[in-house]
């Protein structure tokens, strides 16, 4: 009972906020995986680039700062596709994954050089900070950004669901995600579909960059790295083969981490990663195809 008692409304609010941000990242990763069969480890560096853009444009009007963040991230996302993903399209999944490690290191190293020009590590993104203030709802302090995060996540998911189900490009993307070769034979243009997925995943990364810098305005080269790893784990746990199971997986791991953190005794919270990853192992053993992938058999070897 003590476990349940420690989970109050406050914690639930935080858990939804965290889950929402992770769900957005999961969609970004899941979309690209769907069309390219590529686990993009460098996704976190797109978010990091967005966060740096926000930091360096702190003096600008908030809207201009956010627009430039979106522009930079989408451009970088497209460049990554053109320079790295496209030449790798026929490679094995392990090679693609390891190449994205290299890209991730490369972007971190470049960010470090840019960051260190002023002699100190880390930049502060202050333009969007007001969102971090708390407002009191029914006796519970909720940071504004939690509402914004949940709102953005729900809104983005609804728009994306509509685009994927109601437009031609959405139909093509879903077709390509379920069987790329057959889709191409039937006239789906590979480059257009991939560009669509890459742009949308870039837009989502930019949105996440804004939300994360509100929570943590101190931007470093490793910004969002840990979150990306956690989301990648969540995406596989949820079921990477389908976009919606991947999204649920991302949401679930963010949500559960906050709950477990609240449920652990204070002197044991340092072992939070162990508990969460032990849960991950248990879930993977019981449902290797994905926690939310009902009624399907485990996929055949991929990586």
């Amino acid at each position: 009972m003590s476990v349940l008692a420690s989970i109050d409304l406050q914690t639930l609010g935080d858990a939804f906020g965290q889950g929402a941000v992770y769900a957005l990242m999961a969609v970004g990763i899941g979309l690209v995986f769907g069309v390219l069969r590529l686990v993009n480890f460098a996704y976190g560096q797109l978010i990091m680039a967005g966060a740096y853009t926000l930091a360096y444009t702190s003096g600008w009007p908030v809207a201009a700062s956010i627009v430039s963040c979106f522009a930079v991230v989408v451009a970088l996302s497209l460049a990554m596709d053109r320079l790295v993903f496209r030449p790798l399209r026929s490679s094995s999944p392990a090679v693609m994954l390891v190449t994205t490690f290299a890209v991730s290191f490369l972007l971190q190293a470049v960010a470090l050089i840019i960051d260190l020009r002023d002699g100190t590590l880390g930049e502060v993104a202050s333009a969007v900070a007001p969102l971090n203030q708390a407002i009191t709802v029914g006796g519970v302090d909720v940071r504004k950004v939690t509402f914004v995060a949940v709102g953005v996540a729900v809104g983005a998911l609804i728009v994306l669901a509509l685009v994927l189900t109601r437009t031609t490009i959405g139909l093509h993307t879903r077709a390509a995600a379920s069987d790329f070769r057959t889709a191409r034979l039937l006239g789906v243009r590979a480059n257009r579909v991939i560009a669509f997925a890459v742009v949308v995943s870039g837009l989502l990364a930019a949105a996440v960059a804004v939300l994360l810098t509100v929570q943590n305005p101190f931007v470093q080269p490793t910004f969002a790295l840990e979150d990306t790893i956690v989301v990648l784990v969540g995406v596989v746990v949820g079921g990477i083969d389908r976009l919606w199971t991947a999204t649920l997986g991302g949401f679930a791991i963010g949500f559960v981490s906050v709950l477990v953190n609240a449920a652990l005794p204070t002197d044991q919270t340092v072992f939070l990663p162990s508990v969460v990853y032990a849960l991950v192992i248990v879930v993977l053993l019981l449902r290797p195809a994905g926690l939310f992938a009902w009624g399907r058999r485990a996929p055949v070897e991929r990586v």
Partner: protein
């Protein structure tokens, strides 16, 4: 006879290359010797990873956990007893009051790595594909978390110092050779071939009676033991270690070495480890200026930019790795075999 000789190239090539690096290390200045030792220890780590990841074709991010366990076991058990009370204050009395010699510590590291891998592998080896990758990654996270926070078994988040620096040129070379020979014997054995068959086609392998779970578990355990051993070499080379040094960065770097060299061959593992370590050493020298034909200086901080850019380029231009994932053969085959399909 001819075929046997050609097969020996598989082990002689990597072994001679390692001996050459060891020989070069003896001629290097004291300040440069570290680079060669580092490269040799990385050969041992990457070969350990190859034994599982390369031969089974199942991606694992968890092998560095066994390196970490080996490194901390060998490190904690070789700090002299008289200094332990000062540096490892909250450790179990049993660990505090005993220390072992250098060779014993390496064997202990190998044994612990193997046992840990066996325990972890029993449930995990049922998985394959991305699920296996993520589950082994979870093992890495848990190992790192426990080593970092549980101060009864080690130094926790602080640096473990005062470890005897016994990994010199001789031990590093011998260590890398041990890893290579063990990997060679395993991959030429019946067991190794069965596992390789399961990599090429799991369904066919199963249909001819290969117990894939068992074969993978064996390779995982052997790989864990070699990784623990390599971890022992690593800590004895560094002299001091933190949990962060045997965590994510080392995992990605060593996996990148294996893939850059060529995932599916022992030769690839050795070439990849040496090529990337060599490049890294060269670049860090170049940041302070090196003289190759003309003096060549890289701007500060650009080492990682070049290193990762070159790794990405190699993978884009040569996705099957520098060696193409093939073993070195002493005699050029008369007819070129069709390229092995990457798994």
């Amino acid at each position: 006879m001819r075929r046997r000789l050609a097969g020996l190239g598989e082990v002689l090539g990597p072994a001679l290359l390692v001996i050459l690096v060891g020989f070069l290390a003896t001629t290097a200045s004291d300040s440069n010797e570290g680079y060669f030792l580092n490269a040799l220890v990385f050969v041992a780590i990457v070969v350990a990873i190859y034994v599982f990841v390369g031969i089974s074709g199942v991606l694992s991010f968890g092998q560095i956990s066994f390196v970490a366990v080996g490194a901390f076991a060998a490190g904690v058990m070789t700090v002299p007893v008289e200094s332990k009370k000062g540096v490892l204050t909250s450790i179990f009395p049993l660990l505090r009051d005993h220390s072992v010699g250098n060779v014993t510590s390496l064997l202990l590291a190998a044994a612990l790595g193997g046992v840990f891998a066996l325990v972890v592998g029993l449930p995990l080896m049922r998985l394959s594909g991305l699920a296996a990758g993520i589950a082994t990654f979870a093992v890495l996270e848990i190992t790192h978390n426990v080593l970092r926070e549980w101060t009864k078994i080690g130094p926790g988040a602080t640096t473990l110092a005062l470890v005897p620096e016994t990994t010199g040129v001789l031990q590093a070379t011998l260590g890398a050779l041990v890893a290579i020979v063990v990997a060679f014997l395993y991959q030429r054995s019946r067991r190794g071939r069965l596992l390789r068959a399961s990599r090429e086609d799991p369904a066919v392998a199963r249909s001819v009676g290969v117990n894939i779970h068992l074969e993978r578990l064996l390779a995982f355990t052997l790989s864990g033991a070699l990784a623990g051993f390599a971890g022992g070499l690593y800590v004895h080379m560094l002299g001091s270690i933190t949990t962060e040094q045997v965590y994510l960065e080392l995992t990605f770097l060593t996996l990148a070495m294996l893939v850059v060299g060529g995932l599916t061959s022992l030769w690839g593992a050795v070439v990849g480890a040496l090529a990337i370590s060599g490049l890294d050493s060269f670049l860090s020298q170049a940041e302070s200026g090196v003289h190759v034909l003309f003096t060549f200086t890289l701007p500060q901080g650009t080492r990682l930019v070049f290193l990762s850019a070159i790794m990405a380029l190699v993978l884009i231009l040569r996705p099957s790795g520098l060696t193409g994932g093939r073993e070195l053969r002493l005699r050029w085959p008369r007819r070129r075999r069709p390229a092995e399909a990457p798994s």
